[in-house]
Symmetry: C2
Subunit: 366 residues, 2 copies
C-alpha cells in the first residue's frame, strides 16, 4: 500500500539484490528501512519482531533461506537454516509452511542450483501472498457491501492487532476488505484495538489506516464489548496466526474476548484466513496449540514517543510486580461467523474447510 | 492498609484539622500526600482523579462539603456545593449518595451549626465505608475458603481496575476478601488486569498488593480469557461504580469482557458491592446508565517511569489518529454469579437485592 503516496511492500529486493524490510519496531513514530544480509539477521528480524504478522514472517523466512543458499547451499546448511529460522517464532504456522516449501523445492536440486531457485521461490511466495490477500479483500468486500446496503452512514469495523499490510507482503488480510471497500467508494470506519502488550493496533494498524486516509478511531482493548453492546460495531474482522482443521482460530491475545462479545451481541465475527495459515494437523486449538509466553517486560513497559520526540519505554507498574504474558489465545470455531479465505467465505467447521480446500487437506493426509 | 509498615487511610484529617489525601496520580512511582483546603481543590481532586474509586469519591465529596461549610454555611453555598461537586464525575453513584446524605443532615440545621455537623458526618461516612468493606471482606473470605478447600495451591483471583483500598477509605471492596484471606493464612494469587486506559490495575492494585506482600502477576486486559480457558483462574472479583436495582453492574471499561469469559469458562464472577453503590432508580443498566466518555488523550498517551526515573507520558499512536474513550461498561446481571455486599452474598436479581436490602429499596420508593 502507499506511504505518503509512494507504493511499498513490506519486504523486497533492492536494485542490488539486497533484501530490504521495514523495521516495524519504530512505527508509528519513525519509518525505517533496513537491509537483511545474513541468516542471523533474518532470524533476529523475525524473533525480535522487526517484522511480524504470520504471512510476512513466512515471506521473511523464505528470503532468509534464499540468502543463506547464496552463501552455503549444502544439505547441512539447508537443514540447519530450517531449524534456525523455525525456532524464532514457534506459534507462527506460516513460518513452518514457508520453510517446508523452500526445503521441498531446494532439497532435490544439486547445491549449485539452489541459490537461484531459492531466490525465485522466495519472490514467488511474496507474490502469492499479495494475490491471496487481494482475493481475501475481494471476497470481504462483498460482505461490507451487503452491510452498507442495509444501513446509512459508514460500516463500522472493529479489528484487533495488526493483520494489515504491514503484517503481510501487501494488502493485509483483515484490512484487505477495508482497503477494497474504500477503493470501491463504500464509507467505512475502523475501531482499532490498541492490542496490548505490544500495541500493534495503535502503532501499526492506526499508522496504516492513517497513511491511507481510512477513517478510524483508536480504542483500548477493553472498549469493544461496550461498543458492540450499543450497536456501534457492524462487524469484526481479525487475522490469524494459525487456524486448525476445524476452524479454531489462534490469534493475538485478546481476540477471544472480542469473539465472545461479538457472539453475545449478534455482531458478525470474521477471520481473514490465507490458506497457508491453516494447520491441518491440529483440530482442537485450545488443547493442541502451544501458546508462546513472552517476556513480562512487554507488559510492564510501554513504548511510545515523548513530548520532545524521543522514542522511549516507560514502566507502568511498581518495581517488584511481575507479569504473565501469553502472546496468543484461541477462539473456538463456534464463535466464528465465517473464515474469509482467498477462495471465498468458508464456514469455520471441519466440513466447511475440507470442502473449500480438499486439495490442501489431502496434501497433509487430512 | 499498610505502606512500608505504616497504616494509612486514603483520606483523613491531620492534627490541624486539614483534610489530607494520597494524590494517586503519581503511584506506583511516587507516594505523595496533598492537603485539600478549598471546594475548588476538592472538585479538582475528584475530577482529575487525584482520588478515584466510587467509595473514596463519595468520602472526598463529603469532606469537600464539610470544608466549604466551615467557610460559608449558607443555604446558597450548600446548594452550590452539591452541584459543583456532583458535576465532577457524573457516573459515580456514591458521589451523589454522599452529597445527598450531607445535604439531608445539613439542610435542617441553622447555618451556624453546619460546619461541625458536616465534619462529624463526613468522618462517619469514612468510618462507615471502612466497616462496609470489612464486612464485604469477611463474607468474601468464606467464598475463597471454600475454593481453597477444593484445590491444592493458591486460589487464583482475577481482578480488574482498582477496587482496592486506594479506591475506598480502607480495605477496598474487591480486595477486601483477598486481604482477609491472606490474613487468615489462605494462599492467594491475584491476576491484576492492567486496566487501560488509565492503568489503575498496573499502577494502583499492583502497588497495593506489592506493598502488602500479596502474590500477584500483572496481565494485559487481553489475557484473562485465555487464562480462564486454561483453568488458571478460580474466581473473578471486581468492584462497581454503580449497580442497578436488578443487578446490572456498571464498572470500569472491560469488566463486561471478563464477565463474558468467566461465564463461557465456568469461572465464578463476583462483584463486591457496598450498598451505597446501588442505584435503586435504574433497572436496565445498558439503557439506563449514561457512560462517561473521557478525553481520547487517555488512550493515545501512557504514563510511566522512564529508565532515569522521570514520570512521563508517551504517545503510542501516530499523529492524526483519534480515539474513542468510553470509561465504563455495563455487565448484565445474568453474567454475575453473586453480589458480595456488607450484608452477605446476594443474587444479582431484582428479588435478591430487594430481599437483602428491603430498607434501602423502600427508602427510594422502590
Amino acid at each position: 500500500m502507499k506511504i505518503d503516496g509512494t507504493p511499498f511492500r513490506t519486504i523486497w529486493q533492492d536494485a542490488d539484490g539486497v533484501v530490504q524490510v521495514i523495521d516495524q519496531r519504530w512505527l508509528p513514530h519513525d519509518f525505517r528501512i533496513v537491509p537483511l544480509r545474513t541468516r542471523a539477521e533474518f532470524a533476529t528480524a523475525i524473533r525480535d519482531m522487526w517484522v511480524r504478522g504470520a504471512p510476512l514472517i513466512g515471506a521473511t523466512a523464505a528470503w532468509g533461506m534464499a540468502v543463506q543458499m547464496a552463501k552455503d547451499p549444502s544439505d547441512a546448511s539447508l537443514a540447519e537454516t530450517w531449524e534456525v529460522l523455525h525456532d524464532t517464532r514457534p506459534t507462527a504456522i506460516n513460518l513452518r509452511w514457508a520453510l517446508d516449501e523452500m526445503r521441498r523445492v531446494l532439497s532435490p536440486l544439486p547445491p549449485v542450483m539452489r541459490a537461484a531457485a531459492a531466490a525465485k521461490r522466495a519472490a514467488e511466495i511474496c507474490d502469492e501472498d499479495v494475490e491471496i490477500n487481494r482475493q481475501i479483500g475481494l471476497h470481504g468486500l462483498e460482505i461490507i457491501k451487503a452491510i452498507s446496503a442495509r444501513k446509512s452512514g459508514p460500516v463500522n469495523i472493529l479489528t484487533h492487532c495488526n493483520a494489515g499490510w504491514l503484517a503481510t507482503v501487501d494488502w493485509g488480510t483483515a484490512t484487505s476488505p477495508i482497503y477494497h471497500a474504500d477503493a470501491a467508494g463504500i464509507p467505512v470506519h475502523v475501531f482499532v484495538d490498541e492490542t496490548r502488550p505490544r500495541n500493534q493496533g495503535a502503532q501499526l494498524t492506526a499508522w496504516e489506516l492513517n497513511s491511507h486516509g481510512i477513517p478510524h478511531d483508536l480504542i483500548v482493548d477493553n472498549a469493544g464489548g461496550h461498543l458492540m453492546q450499543h450497536g456501534e460495531v457492524d462487524m469484526v474482522i481479525v487475522g490469524t496466526d494459525r487456524t486448525t482443521a476445524r476452524g479454531d482460530v489462534c490469534n493475538k491475545i485478546g481476540t477471544y474476548l472480542k469473539a465472545l462479545a461479538a457472539r453475545a451481541n449478534g455482531v458478525p465475527f470474521y477471520v481473514a484466513l490465507p490458506s497457508p495459515t491453516i494447520d491441518w494437523r491440529v483440530h482442537d486449538g485450545v488443547r493442541g496449540i502451544p501458546i508462546e509466553e513472552r517476556n513480562g517486560a512487554e507488559v510492564t513497559l510501554v513504548q511510545g514517543r515523548t513530548k520532545d520526540g524521543r522514542i522511549e519505554s516507560v514502566q507502568i507498574s511498581p518495581d517488584g510486580t511481575g507479569a504473565r504474558n501469553p502472546a496468543f489465545d484461541v477462539t473456538p470455531a463456534e464463535l466464528v461467523t465465517g473464515l474469509l479465505t482467498e477462495r471465498g467465505l468458508c464456514p469455520a467447521t471441519e466440513a466447511g474447510m475440507g470442502a473449500m480446500f480438499p486439495d490442501l487437506k489431502a496434501a497433509v493426509g487430512g
